[in-house]
Subunit: 509 residues, 2 copies
């Protein structure tokens, strides 16, 4: 029996429409085989550049319908979704530029040298696409981390067809985006089988186990991501699984920073932690603020700002329940106070809030470790540290994160060898991105970005945002003594494509 896939309005909880049916094991098999069969059509870099640009155009052309549908399914609102669509098309165009640049191929050429002991043969290395990539869409970015998002864009840029497991929170948006991508494929003369969108939990499990799937990208929960990671590792032939599972995104506020601008930091924190109803992967979920007056002022400012934030609708009813349960469980812990209580709002909304706790509660393993786990939604925990020594001890207790943030006083930033440098050094092992005097929400799409970090922020050392995200879908190959006429263009002496290369140790750009 076909299992229907419904689009649901999170503002009302009502079903909007039946969008599709869940994919069966044989649907998954057919999609992967079809993608595998046409993978060679993506070998030409010119057609990949054209595809990525056409995809941006198709998404833009259907923008009004995409935004309206995404808003109806996610309650994220038109302004946010307008920005997200721009970000999504921007990512596609940025990867087209990376393909044109060619630096991601990491070409290294060593000419034969008979004078060496032992003699060196001619060796030429570049990177080739892995094959069919499974993409697992996130709930919280129905465009930028979903069907047409960074995983899809980077995989297509690398030359890999994608089979995408849609997120159940926005199936209608997923279908529209998938159709736009397939129209783009057809427009540039590619078979539409290079992109397939599938629905259903079981389909997702089948997908990661399929022998012709070569790699997977995932953004979601620790629980779901870890199960898929384990399945990828347990295959007869294990495959790379690039998963972004969860992040607390700790923020450290120094004594001097709090003394200098407690109100500003409290207000900035309120804005960052409630952005998108607290559903960003980079939401600051734990803040280390000093005990004492400046820290009190920060807490007061945060409370004042949060009291003015309107309740918001979460992405789905299950998340709302998990949020309310998570808040409740944390609030009940010994010594935890809730100056502004997060919880149920009117209708299906939730209200933002925050908790406070003394640092000593978190120094040793125990029930308070729950506070070191991400709680998805508009809540954060302010941990009051007694002194620098306690702060350092607390930092050793954190799991891996996407981001870690340091708020410094104006003078501290100037002291190259002082406490600020030590704090930055203590934060670096905790995260993939380390910020100073800013907020982690809002992830710039740019070559130097890194959106990943120690587990559980990522199951690999990779990033899902920024130019280097393409590296995930490639593997190196070296050709030894291959006749020049048989070499790919990127490896020929005359470098007809103008690719950056390292030749006999010298870089040519």
């Amino acid at each position: 029996m076909a299992v229907p896939v419904w689009s649901v309005d999170p503002r009302t909880g009502n079903q909007r429409e039946q969008v599709a049916v869940e994919a069966t094991a044989s649907d998954v098999d057919a999609a992967v085989r079809a993608a595998h069969a046409v993978r060679h059509t993506l070998a030409d870099r010119g057609v990949r550049i054209a595809l990525l640009r056409a995809a941006a155009e198709e998404l833009t052309a259907d923008g009004e319908r995409l935004r309206a549908t995404a808003d109806a399914e996610t309650a994220l609102g038109q302004p946010r979704l307008t920005g997200e669509l721009g970000r999504t098309t921007g990512q596609l165009l940025a990867f087209a530029d990376e393909v044109a640049d060619g630096g991601y191929l990491d070409v290294i050429i060593d000419h034969a040298d008979a004078s060496l002991t032992p003699p060196r043969p001619d060796l030429r290395r570049y990177k080739v696409p892995l094959g069919v990539v499974a993409v697992y869409s996130a709930s919280n970015f129905p465009l930028a981390f979903s069907v047409p998002g960074g995983d899809t864009a980077s995989a297509l840029a690398a030359g890999c067809p994608v089979v995408i497991k849609a997120h159940p929170d926005h199936p209608a948006t997923s279908e529209l985006a998938g159709a736009a991508l397939r129209r783009a494929a057809v427009r540039v003369g590619l078979p539409e089988e290079i992109v397939t969108v599938l629905h259903g939990f079981e389909a997702g499990v089948e997908l990661v186990k399929h022998p012709l799937v070569s790699a997977a990208g995932f953004t979601g929960s620790v629980r779901g991501g870890r199960a898929l990671f384990d399945a990828a590792a347990a295959r007869p032939q294990p495959i790379p699984f690039h998963g972004e599972l969860g992040s607390l995104n700790p923020v450290v506020v120094t004594e001097r920073a709090a003394g200098e601008r407690a109100a500003e930091i409290g207000s900035g924190l309120a804005g960052s932690m409630t952005m998108g109803v607290g559903q960003f992967c980079t939401k600051p979920g734990l803040v280390l603020a000093p005990a004492g007056e400046p820290g009190d002022e920060l807490v007061a400012s945060l409370g004042k700002q949060l009291a003015e934030v309107s309740p918001g609708v979460l992405l789905d009813g299950r998340m709302r329940e998990a949020f309310l349960a998570g808040v409740d469980e944390r609030t009940r812990l010994d010594g935890v106070r809730a100056p502004v209580a997060a919880g149920e709002g009117e209708g299906r909304t939730v209200a933002a809030g925050f908790l406070t706790v003394d640092g000593e509660r978190l120094l040793a393993e125990g029930e308070h470790d729950l506070l070191l786990e991400e709680c998805f939604g508009p809540i954060t925990v302010v941990v009051r540290y007694a002194d620098t020594e306690q702060l350092t001890a607390l930092l050793t207790r954190f799991p891996g994160n996407l981001t870690a943030t340091l708020h410094l006083g104006t003078d501290e930033a100037e002291e190259a060898d002082g406490a600020a440098a030590r704090l930055l050094a203590e934060l670096t092992p905790l995260a993939g991105r380390v910020l100073v005097n800013g907020w982690p929400t809002g992830v710039a799409v740019t070559p130097a970005q890194h959106h990943g970090g120690p587990y559980p922020a990522s199951t690999s050392g990779s990033t899902s945002v920024g130019a280097t995200a393409i590296e995930r879908w490639l593997r190196p190959v070296s050709y030894q003594s291959a006749p020049h006429a048989l070499l790919p263009a990127e490896l020929r002496d005359d470098n007809p494509l103008g690719v950056p290369r390292r030749v006999n140790g010298t870089r040519e750009v």
Copy 2:
């Protein structure tokens, strides 16, 4: 009770001396904690360069004793071990040069740009060391893939302390090499805890599970490597496991190549497959030769050469038993012939040999799949293919490999769009290194080298030989809006270390 670790002479099977005792779980814990505690001493790139160069010097200074001990434990012979020592010190020096070059840090800098939508913050990315690395030594290279080998050299170059599980086939060599590395550390002012050598199977299992171990490198069997890979993936916080597990290294000989130089190819094959008594990771274990006269001539030439090869001693008695059993099991398969029978030689030696089988036996899954598995030692399988169509079908049946080799006729190499190009394209998905008209044994240590490949050749996309092996022990970090005074030197605007970088999209070398 302490379990003794004995050095054994494979030529006689006699114990030479007790070298050490097996490490207990608490020994492993102590070694990892000590390494972790001193990891920051490797942060300075100058001291790492000095360390790698001092290590090469210390190994060279103790070269006579190292070679004599290694020969007594492995029976590989002085000429081979002299070459291997040179290769080992060469690797250490090459990684010193890579550290000095700095390109491996993959620095990307994007300056802030307020004119963009959304505005771009200042982002600066480079790579930081992962932490303590576990190294699992190989049996077949007691220096170059063992204690002072490529995994150790690349990990130290990256800034990671190492805890090394010695291979039981050469414990005395391992101790000598470990002592040389520790002397080098002390000479350049580093704590010797940056390198520890441990013995014992259980110690190896404990090591990969230790919470403070951040990554592992392994060269060895599919069975042992897969068990450690599984343990690394099953940890509460999974770690990267870079394992080289096994490789068949298929060779394709075209009709025209066989027609042109059958005798030369047969003789080259005999040399490559018996080098080091067939114990190279890159031994050509399966050769696809055409049916018909030129192929017959190739087989005859191989047989003639092999009949002249003296029996050799394998690395240990267990390997000898496995080799004899493997040969026996393969020889019994329907349709398999043994023109020169591999098997027992005088004393503890084994004689080289080869098998032949018709291609049709390997077209479908069945008991003949055993021929697609590596058999460690001096044996190869010549598969006679009927025509190009059958050859293409056979190639789809191969597992992943370190290498794949193509022997072409002189004219074929010139035909850019012909059958040769198609064959090269069919071999590329099978291996990390693709050779034309050469032999895969002898892996050049050079920036463009890639020693890895699809599973089981490697459990990751990485290489264990060549400059890019350093990438395995690093992860990217981006600093956002960090004050200039707090940035590491590699990320400062004036680039005091002269590191290659990509700044605002432009490469600076």
